[in-house]
Symmetry: C2
Subunit: 369 residues, 2 copies
């Protein structure tokens, strides 16, 4: 019997009585329990579910001057991880039974080399799981290498799935650290995708040693939409990284720092004019990377001319992200961005308008033991 809450896709209904027997189910999975400073010292928890399904959203990292320290989650787009207790799997281990979705065949089924697998193992270690084995199925809703935090979404969904299966003992910070282990192995030691994928909203990474995360709450009463325009183009990851300058002149450092500060202010004040200007203002990374994505500069110009508050590259690209406060206007902006990709970059592209995801990774359903 499935128990459902906060499904981004399709709600699964359950008998009222069952839902009421476990009052904790109404809480957000990733904030339902306090963080423990040393989870390794806790005794091995019993599984609460026989199986669970978790979802984690797409994320936009870098955010112009927020390079490598600021990211946010995007509603209605992400990855799913299903997890079940499996007596055929070695106790304390994870086996990946299935990967579905676009380009699933490009992903490793070895849990040691799969984002979801690595994060799942890490959470099991943190919880001290030694008595049961888990079978994991990954459903990719996100395209690979699109700049939308595909690896982070898989890791976040897996981390939350394992944690919830064992009663949600770990707090947000541990889950981010588990996701970070995965990111480190597959795409670099940065938490600006995996932290918002787990926590939702905007998250600022203040420190890695120890991990310190600042959730930045965009005011509930205000609308924020992202126009995500993804061209049919694989961003050259190595070139994207190599394009980064090793040194930044003081004037550009001060400029970008001030814009990073303004971006934070724009988010917390819910001021899209400030936020948009800051988003568009990067003088350090975007000017190096944009030329590597055909048409990107024209796409940004088209978005702004069509009324977007701001526009930049999402993650390391090739997706372009524009911000707006109105869904219909967002669709119009998206059309102009698609046209610009075709005209100036000779690339077909698809645009979609998404809200900010304020929840982050969450349990979708669970079958009690």
């Amino acid at each position: 019997m499935a128990i459902c809450y906060q499904s981004p896709i399709k709600p699964i209904t359950i008998p009222q009585s069952k839902a009421l027997t476990n009052p904790k189910l109404s809480f957000r999975c990733n904030l339902s329990l306090p963080s423990r400073s040393n989870p390794l010292t806790i005794s091995e928890p019993e599984p609460v579910y026989a199986s669970v399904k978790a979802f984690a959203p797409a994320t936009i990292a870098n955010l112009g001057p927020g390079f490598d320290f600021l990211g946010c989650a995007v509603d209605g787009l992400g990855d799913f991880v299903s997890l079940s207790l499996d007596p055929n799997v070695q106790p304390g281990e994870v086996s990946i039974s299935e990967i579905s979705g676009d380009n699933a065949n490009r992903l490793s089924k070895s849990p040691l080399w799969n984002c979801a697998g690595i994060a799942a193992i890490e959470v099991m270690k943190m919880l001290g799981i030694r008595s049961v084995g888990l079978s994991l199925s990954l459903e990719k809703g996100l395209p690979l290498g699109s700049g939308l935090g595909s690896s982070a979404a898989s890791a976040a969904a897996a981390a939350v799935a394992v944690n919830e299966l064992f009663g949600g003992k770990l707090g947000v910070k541990e889950l981010v650290m588990a996701g970070l282990k995965s990111e480190e192995k597959v795409s670099g030691y940065h938490a600006d995708n995996v932290a918002p994928a787990i926590m939702g909203g905007f998250v600022l990474i203040q420190n890695y040693e120890p991990v310190e995360l600042i959730p930045l709450r965009f005011p509930e009463e205000k609308d924020l939409f992202f126009v995500l325009t993804t061209p049919e183009f694989e961003a050259p990851t190595k070139k994207m990284r190599a394009a980064l300058p090793a040194e930044i002149g003081m004037p550009h450092h001060v400029w970008n720092s001030s814009q990073g500060g303004a971006l934070v202010a724009g988010v917390l004040l819910g001021d899209l004019i400030i936020l948009g200007k800051a988003l568009s203002s990067d003088k350090v990374v975007e000017p190096r990377r944009a030329p590597l994505i055909p048409g990107m500069e024209a796409v940004k110009k088209a978005a702004i001319e069509a009324g977007a508050f701001g526009c930049t590259i999402s993650g390391a690209g090739p997706t372009a992200v524009a911000v707006i406060d109105d869904e219909k206007k967002g669709a119009e902006i998206g059309e102009e961005m698609v046209k610009a990709f075709l005209k100036e970059g000779n690339l077909k592209a698809v645009a979609n308008v998404h809200r900010l995801d304020r929840i982050g990774a969450r349990l979708i359903s669970g079958i009690p033991r």
Copy 2:
């Protein structure tokens, strides 16, 4: 007859009836009127007062990772400008009649080379004053070269005094631009002192072309105190500027940008832990400048050990600034900072605890015509 409001020093009482005849007097001078996009097109305003006295607070610029783009105002410490219509002064011009206070003899009485004079002239130009001349008296409450925005306080007080004398036609942005003209001439084209000196609170400078200022409101219900510890030492201004690195490596750029963002978040959220950590975290400027101020590194350490949330150099020094949420605790921290300056830097120092000034430059008193 003197009219008084918001005096930081000593209130001057006036007959009730007089105060009531001018209801505008109860508004804050610097926010009482909207900004005009082109002040040069307005007709020459009539003076509202025969003379006025204005005050502008000390300011802390740089603020660790907020280097060159973030500053805040400090309560109960600042400069005064008295201004009167003077038929002996050439119409459209300003004459400086007196400069009092510490080191007053080091300041030029030529209005073209005095911070207050330059700002006053600039505001007169903006207002199109051609028919009357003004006599200006400057009372320095701030020591020169202490890192507390001495030049900005003079400029801000003068700008507000002139504006108010003519009925407060200009808005905040024009006043900041007038102050910026002064700063440009005497200490460099940066608004991170003069903007908070005029606007109060914390101010982020997002842009100079055109000037874009973001007031960052520290929550009213929370306490914020600055422990300002000034040693008997003249910071070597040229060396301080020369110590700045021309280039910053990418890791330090990302680090400082993230801390700048965290600092903004700390202010807006009223979270002194986040704010203090960010304030203390500068890896770009402070490590180069601190060694030029004897004992500074030990002073910072002493402040943190004594319970400060964070500590850094105020402006270009030599004042050290620590933050705390309790006045008494602030005094204790100050004692430790003074001891450290003496022990490690062989410098006598004075510590004072001040609140955040949330108002900025203001009219203290005015004698109607």
